[in-house]
């Protein structure tokens, strides 16, 4: 953003000051994530940069915490990772199916009580997690699903559907309903119309909603803290326990892997968002 030549000096100073502030805020946002990366290669047990690391001595770096994460004795991470992925995948599928159907219904102009129903459907996003956790725990305990995978999956479907509902509704807002009518008038069955016309067009919204649901489930700790037993510990639970009891560099190794995963998810989400905007013709 170059300034025009006629800019007055005090405004010029103000402008650089503004850029400096922005730089500081960006630094504040992103820098903490990069602390984890080098420290996870620490050869020592402490969570500070050792003198060797400051001198960039190769001996001060090692992969021991990554080894510990994968092969360590009494290693909880393997089980936790498996549970996390199973729970997140099923919760995402459930959220996508229920959320997309609901969004299709909501975006129909015939839908009665739209505002009220929308409010109910996205309430799990607004209600503080701790309250959702308490309520869901009471329900799961009552029906005997506490400390089961199914219970946690259902809980995560509750938390994940609002995202799918919102993203798919947003995609459908630019949707031209006359094309589905055209398909019907040409003799396509409703199922066929959905599969061949509607779904491909709303797919970016569905997938990005699904990504939100996946991350919500994969990262969720409050509700799982109430629900999980020993057999359904997840990565966030293990990290929570680790952070509370003893900060070991193994956690940083796990955290590094999680950051890489979020980079991957971020790129996917961005690509999808752009594609969706292009399809809806919003791109300027």
């Amino acid at each position: 953003m170059a300034l025009p030549k006629y800019t007055e000096p005090h405004y010029r100073i103000w402008h650089y000051f503004y850029l400096l502030i922005c730089g500081c805020v960006f630094f504040f946002l992103i820098a903490p994530l990069f602390v984890i990366f080098p420290l996870s290669f620490n050869a020592e047990e402490f969570l500070v940069f050792s003198d060797g690391m400051k001198r960039l001595d190769p001996d001060a770096f090692s992969l021991r915490w990554y080894k510990d994460m994968i092969y360590g004795t009494k290693n909880p991470w393997g089980l936790a990772a498996r549970n996390s992925f199973i729970i997140a995948i099923f919760a995402t599928l459930g959220s996508i199916i229920l959320g997309t159907l609901a969004a299709l219904g909501l975006s129909s102009r015939h839908m009665p009580y739209k505002g009220l129903i929308m409010a109910i459907l996205i309430s799990p996003m607004i209600v503080p997690l701790i309250i959702s956790g308490v309520a869901i725990f009471f329900f799961m305990a009552k029906v005997g699903l506490a400390a089961t995978h199914l219970g946690i999956i259902l809980a995560h479907i509750i938390l994940g559907t609002p995202f799918v509902v919102i993203t798919v509704t947003a995609t459908l807002s630019g949707f031209d309903h006359s094309i589905t009518r055209a398909a019907s008038s040409l003799g396509s069955s409703p199922y066929n119309t959905f599969m061949k016309i509607t779904l491909p067009l709303i797919l970016p919204g569905v997938i990005s909603g699904g990504l939100f649901a996946f991350v919500t489930s994969f990262d969720e700790v409050v509700v799982v803290l109430f629900l999980a037993g020993l057999d359904n510990t997840t990565i966030p639970i293990q990290m929570w326990t680790g952070l509370r009891e003893q900060l070991s560099p193994t956690i940083l190794a796990v955290a590094t892997c999680l950051i890489l995963l979020s980079v991957f998810i971020l790129l996917t989400a961005e690509l999808l968002r752009r594609r969706s905007e292009r399809l809806r013709g919003i791109n300027r």
Partner: protein, 417 residues
């Protein structure tokens, strides 16, 4: 022209009006059926359990269920003098079962809430009652401890008779209903919950303010920069947004610890002495810093999406009409961003007010919030009705804010990414 012939008919002979109505109805049902699975699922697994929290929070059947015979016998007792022999007998029989089932401890705690000193009296009775002989229980019980002769203790039991109570809500704001049934505050040194409520609102408010102050300039920069630069900078906002909350909290724990990088930096610049490193974690500072960074993207994104729609020519027009940049900004640009500010602030405030994980990890004792108290009662003291009561109080607060949000911005305008 008569009305009979005026009606337009469809090909199958039904009046068009009716046919349209039917089609409309069919469409309505179709739309509703699509929403129904999720709606039902949420109502059963989510809305009803939240309602259930309410009945749990006012439920007080525990003592009533433990002393069924006693309360039956007490029905006729007026509470003025010591109860008759039947009450003593019934109490002895109820208590005997509790001691046998090893659940007497719960009763002791519950009654001790009602009247201080009840616990020791009951414990003594638990030991002595094994040697009781049949008949004349009034004498025998009164012999165990002289407090059994004090009618106050029997009144305390009677006060617990109703199965419903709002005492948990009173406890949530550090009040209780005393022996005369008046609502009074608890003694000064035990007023912990009010401090927590105030602190929660305070932290939520300041985190929102900090987020706003930091998000406004960068959202503006992102919205005005050319696409290719702003996309790159957007990653700085989106990467933390997509990164696990625990990872971000962990990185703050590393940064803020006493031998951490932030402290190292302060020592290096000479701001603090090496042997006098300030404690930046396990207190409010830690909570503020970590929560601000974690919630910042939730402020940037709504602001950005609003600022993106503001045409730069408006500012230019303002300036060309003689406004200084500052006036043009405050008179033209700023008012246009208010919907984004409202959305961002209320989003961050709602998220902050119910925050749990970060305060629990970096907050220490002076940085914990009301959610931590709820979790503590859910997991440690197992006082679920109290946890429910506090949860509902928090929920009411959030719903009020949400209602304002809806009035100002509209729920449909929530945008993600």
């Amino acid at each position: 022209m008569s009305s009979e012939t005026g009606k337009i008919l469809t090909t199958d002979g039904i009046p068009l009006e009716e046919s349209l109505k039917q089609a409309e109805k069919k469409n309505k049902i179709k739309a509703f059926l699509l929403v129904a699975p999720l709606l039902l699922f949420l109502i059963i697994t989510y809305m009803i359990p939240i309602g259930d929290m309410f009945s749990r929070s006012i439920d007080d059947k525990m003592v009533t269920n433990m002393l069924p015979k006693t309360y039956k016998a007490m029905e006729t007792w007026d509470g003025k003098e010591l109860p008759p022999e039947e009450v003593f007998e019934a109490f002895y029989l109820d208590y005997k079962i509790l001691v046998k089932n090893k659940t007497a401890g719960k009763l002791q705690t519950q009654l001790n809430y009602e009247k201080n000193g009840f616990k020791s009296v009951l414990k003594k009775l638990a030991r002595k009652q094994k040697k009781f002989e049949e008949g004349n229980y009034k004498e025998q019980i009164m012999k165990v401890h002289k407090r059994w002769r004090n009618v106050e203790y029997w009144r305390a039991i009677k006060r617990r008779a109703p199965s419903y109570t709002y005492s948990k809500y009173l406890k949530g704001v550090d009040m209780y209903s005393n022996e005369d049934g008046k609502i009074v505050q608890v003694s000064e040194d035990r007023r912990i919950h009010r401090i927590l409520w105030i602190r929660t609102v305070e932290v939520a408010f300041f985190v929102t303010l900090f987020c706003f102050l930091m998000a406004y300039p960068i959202a503006h920069l992102l919205a005005t920069l050319p696409m290719k630069y702003s996309n790159l900078l957007m990653i700085c906002v989106l990467l933390p947004f997509w990164t696990s909350l625990l990872v971000r909290t962990a990185s703050w724990m590393i940064l803020l610890q006493q031998q951490g990088i932030v402290n190292d930096f302060f020592v290096w610049t000479g701001l603090v002495a090496d042997d006098n490193r300030p404690e930046m974690m396990y207190n409010k500072t830690g909570t503020y810093v970590a929560m601000t960074q974690i919630l910042l993207p939730f402020m940037v994104l709504p602001l950005y999406s609003v600022m993106k729609t503001i045409s730069p020519s408006l500012m230019r027009a303002g300036k060309s009409l003689g406004a200084t940049p500052a006036i043009a900004f405050f008179k033209v640009y700023f008012p246009l961003t208010i919907p984004g500010i409202g959305a961002g602030c209320l989003l961050v405030f709602i998220l902050a007010i119910g925050y749990y994980i970060t305060p629990a990890l970096v907050g220490g004792a002076s940085g914990t919030l009301i959610s931590n108290q709820i979790a503590y009662h859910m997991k440690s003291t197992l006082d679920w009705s109290f946890a429910s009561a506090m949860g509902l109080m928090l929920l009411t607060g959030v719903l009020v804010i949400y209602w304002i949000y809806n009035k100002l911005v509209g729920v449909d305008n929530i945008k993600l990414g």
